[in-house]
Symmetry: C2
Subunit: 177 residues, 2 copies
Amino acid sequence: MNAPASAGDKSPQILLGIDPSLRGTGFGFIRTTTPQATALGHGTIKCPADWRKSRCLALIARTLRERIEEFQPSVCVIEGLFYAQNFKTALTMGEARGAALVAAAEAGLEIYEIAPRKVKQAIVGFGAAQKEAVGRMVQRMLGLEDQPEPDAADALALALTHAQTNPRNPLTVLKKV
Amino acid sequence: MNAPASAGDKSPQILLGIDPSLRGTGFGFIRTTTPQATALGHGTIKCPADWRKSRCLALIARTLRERIEEFQPSVCVIEGLFYAQNFKTALTMGEARGAALVAAAEAGLEIYEIAPRKVKQAIVGFGAAQKEAVGRMVQRMLGLEDQPEPDAADALALALTHAQTNPRNPLTVLKKV
C-alpha cells in the first residue's frame, strides 16, 4: 500500500470512502488532484433481502478487498454512526461496518471516521441536507457525467470531505478508528 | 471445507464456537466424537485497550481465518446477542461479530447463532448460570486438564450446545445467520 501522506504533503492521495450497510454498502475512490478531485471508481455492494447475513458480510469484505487491490488507496474514510432506531439495527450496522473495516485494516489503510452531519455540512453547506442534494454536489465536485447512486454518492462524499479537510482549520476533527 | 453433515448423520463433525468481542474474542474447536466430544483447540484473541478498533477487527478476522485453516470445521456457532447497554456498545459488539462472521463465511462454514441463555441452559441446566459454572462444566464435558479462560469456555460451550442439539427435540432452535 502507499505510504500515508503527512499533514503538509500536497501530493495526490487516493482515498476510499465507505458507507456500510448490510444490504447496500456504498464505496467510492477518489484521487486528490487539484483544482478538482478525480473519481476513480464507485459502486454499491447490493445484497438481496433473501441472502443470509453472513453471505452479505462475506461479499462486503471480498468486494472491498478486490477494489482496494485495484485502486491502491492509502486512506479509508468511513461513516461514523451515532444513532440507531433500536438494538437490532445498531448490531446489524455494526456487523456491516466490521466487515468493511476488516477489508480496509487488513490492507493497511489509515482509517478515519466522519459523522454524516459533518459530511453534509462540508459538501452541501447544510448538516441536514437531503441525500439528493449530496448526490448532486458530489456529481458536480467530481465532474461526473451521471449522478452516482445514493449509497455510492454518500461514500464519495465521505472521501471528498476528508480531502477538503485542512489540518490547520479542520471542518471535521480527524478521528482515527 | 468439509461437506455439511445432514441432520441424521452421526459421523463426527468439527464445530467452531465463537464468542466475539472487540478486546477478547473467545474461540473453540471441538470434534463431535462419542461418547464425549473432543476439544481440538481453543483460545482468546486479546486486543489491548490502546489498540485502534480497526487493528482489533483485523486481528480477529486473521486469527480465526488461520485457525479455521488449521482445524477445518464445517460448522460455526456464534453467540446471538439480544441486549446491549447502549447504542455504542451494540455497535461495537456488531463490529466484532462482523469481523468474526467474515472469517467464517468466507471459509464456507454453515453458521448458526445461539442465545447465551440457551447455552447456559444446555450446559449447566440453568439459563442464568455464572460464567464460572460454564467454565467448570465445559472443562468436565471435554475432559480438559485445565479450565479454559472464560471467553474460550463460552466459545466451547456454544459448540457443545450445538453438538448436543437433537434435531427431533431441539434444545435450541437452529437459527442460521
